[in-house]
């Protein structure tokens, strides 16, 4: 009996929070088009979210590209296909590894910082103050951040992919001798739009999830300072989970649309 009760309330809570998130999404969506878009805040957020994550994304992508090559090489070499390295690398990097690694890094960096920032604004009543003064905190705080993340994550992913390929080039040249021209040539010819396009669309949704989860968790923090940490933490966990869910859906859709 007792366990059943606990499970029930757990489920009810979960459904209630899903409903809550839809409502929040609706408020976000309506406020995009309700006039008075906060351009300067949007640009500031693009800078905060995009520019300030570039270093981190760059370093991880470079290492990822290099490590992938070093891991792949022995298996390909075992049947004499080292020449396939650039193709294998670019396909796996652009279809999957690049978008997911970038998104996960950004979930850790961006979702948590948005969650903590809005959470502390909530706790110190800054959001209430905005609302009570007759201003629109959803428009100023939420719309700008979510849209900035939705725009910047795809761009960061593209940058990450390119840097990853550069990392791969260096790693290949540890063992083999491939000229830059040949490497670029091989990479470009092994990629077509069905590799790039679905991955790109997917990253838009990654960005949306990263921005949305951060804002939702922060905006709905409880009172009390410890809830700021909790918001940041649960924003990272939830956003990472969403990234995998979106990735799983995307791979299904892509295979239906492109590879049958």
């Amino acid at each position: 009996m007792a366990t059943q009760d606990i499970e029930l309330t757990g489920w009810r809570k979960w459904f209630a929070s899903i409903g809550d998130q839809w409502l929040f999404f609706g408020r976000f969506f309506r406020n995009i088009f309700s006039g008075g878009f906060e351009w300067s805040e949007f640009v500031r957020q693009c800078y905060e979210i995009g520019y300030k994550s570039m270093m981190l994304v760059g370093i991880t992508s470079f290492i990822m590209g290099a490590v992938l090559v070093l891991q792949l090489r022995p298996s390909l070499a075992s049947f004499g296909q080292e020449g396939m390295l650039p193709k294998t690398l670019s396909v796996s990097l652009i279809r999957e590894i690049g978008p997911v690694i970038t998104a996960l890094i950004c979930a850790g960096k961006i979702s948590s910082s948005i969650g903590a920032e809005l959470g502390s604004m909530k706790v110190t009543e800054q959001i209430d103050a905005m609302e009570v003064s007759g201003a629109n905190p959803i428009q100023y705080l939420v719309v700008t951040r979510i849209l900035a993340a939705t725009l910047m994550i795809p761009l960061l992913t593209i940058i990450g992919d390119l840097i990853g390929l550069v990392g791969g080039f260096f790693a290949i040249n540890i063992n083999d001798n491939v000229s830059a021209v040949l490497y670029i040539h091989k990479c470009i010819y092994s990629i077509d739009y069905s590799d790039f396009l679905p991955a790109f669309v997917k990253t838009i949704f990654f960005g949306l999830a990263i921005g949305f989860v951060g804002c939702y968790k922060g905006y709905n923090s409880n009172r009390g300072t410890e809830s700021v940490g909790l918001s940041a933490n649960s924003a990272v966990v939830t956003a990472s989970l969403w990234i995998f869910v979106i990735d799983a859906i995307a791979v299904q859709l892509t295979s239906i649309l492109f590879y049958h």
């Binding site: 920032e117 110190t124 009543e125 103050a129 009570v132 003064s133 007759g134 201003a135």
Partner: protein, 254 residues
């Protein structure tokens, strides 16, 4: 228990009748009745956790009461839609207990925020003029380019006050404007509240534990206990009240 409400002279601005509000099992407001007339300063006294903040949060529609009527300018607040609520909020200034300055913005940007976002002012010259004027009146003209984190507690309170006053609200709700400040600064803030009342003819509800502040600012004092207002009158009346609880409150602070 409640005394006959003394009839004010001006028009009625806030009218609260049988207001109830609970959080879960906890009944915070049981039966709140209050009338506030134009240009009047009403001070609300009461122990911590009695629900004083909850009452004024209901007035601006941050919280929805469970039952009762709550009329501001003759309109029942819980029944207003989003747009009407926004219009009402533009006429009300709310000073938060912790000042609630936007800490990613400088003092100047804090002051500009309600002007550009709420009043939709465009003319930068006019905006600057109003920002300078209001900061001067709270004595913060020097701190205009500082970040909120660089301000002292008293300066933050004054900046918060300036930000609510800058739109010239018709009603001011002060949530503990002097708590945590030294006696001198407290008195300055109390005087500031009086100046604002004179200058802009605002109607105010002032929540406070500070008897000095109450004495300076109150036209009328109401005392809250167990979710109801148990006594009201002028500061003098209350000091000499028959009710022991009320008197103890005044004597203790002397």
């Amino acid at each position: 228990m409640a005394k006959e409400i003394p009839k004010g002279k001006g028009e009625m601005i806030i009218e609260i009748k049988h207001l109830k509000k609970s959080f879960g099992q906890k009944e915070v407001l049981k039966d709140i009745n209050l009338e506030v007339h134009k240009g009047e300063n009403v001070v609300v006294l009461g122990k911590s956790g009695e629900g004083k903040s909850v009452t004024i949060q209901c007035i601006v529609g941050m919280l929805t009461p469970d039952s009762g009527t709550l009329k501001v300018f003759g309109e029942n607040v819980p029944e207003l839609n989003e747009k009407e609520l926004k219009e009402l909020r533009m006429k009300i200034g709310f000073l938060f207990q912790g000042a609630a300055l936007y800490d990613s913005m400088t003092v100047r940007e804090n002051m500009e925020f309600p002007l550009t976002r709420v009043l939709k002012m465009k003319d930068q010259h006019e905006i600057d003029e109003r920002v300078n004027e209001v900061l001067e009146s709270v004595g913060l003209a020097d701190a205009i380019d500082k970040m909120p984190s660089d301000l002292s507690g008293g300066m933050r309170k004054r900046a918060g006050l300036a930000r609510t006053l800058i739109v010239n609200p018709e009603i001011m709700l002060y949530d503990e404007p002097t708590t945590g400040l030294d006696p001198v600064t407290s008195r300055e803030i109390s005087k500031l509240i009086m100046d604002m009342q004179k200058k802009y003819k605002t109607t105010s509800i002032i929540i406070t534990h500070d008897m000095d502040c109450a004495r300076i600012t109150a036209d009328r004092v109401v005392m809250m206990k167990d979710g109801e207002y148990i006594a009201e009158g002028t500061f003098k009346d209350m000091e000499h009240s028959d009710n022991e609880f009320v008197r103890s409150y005044f004597n203790k602070e002397k």
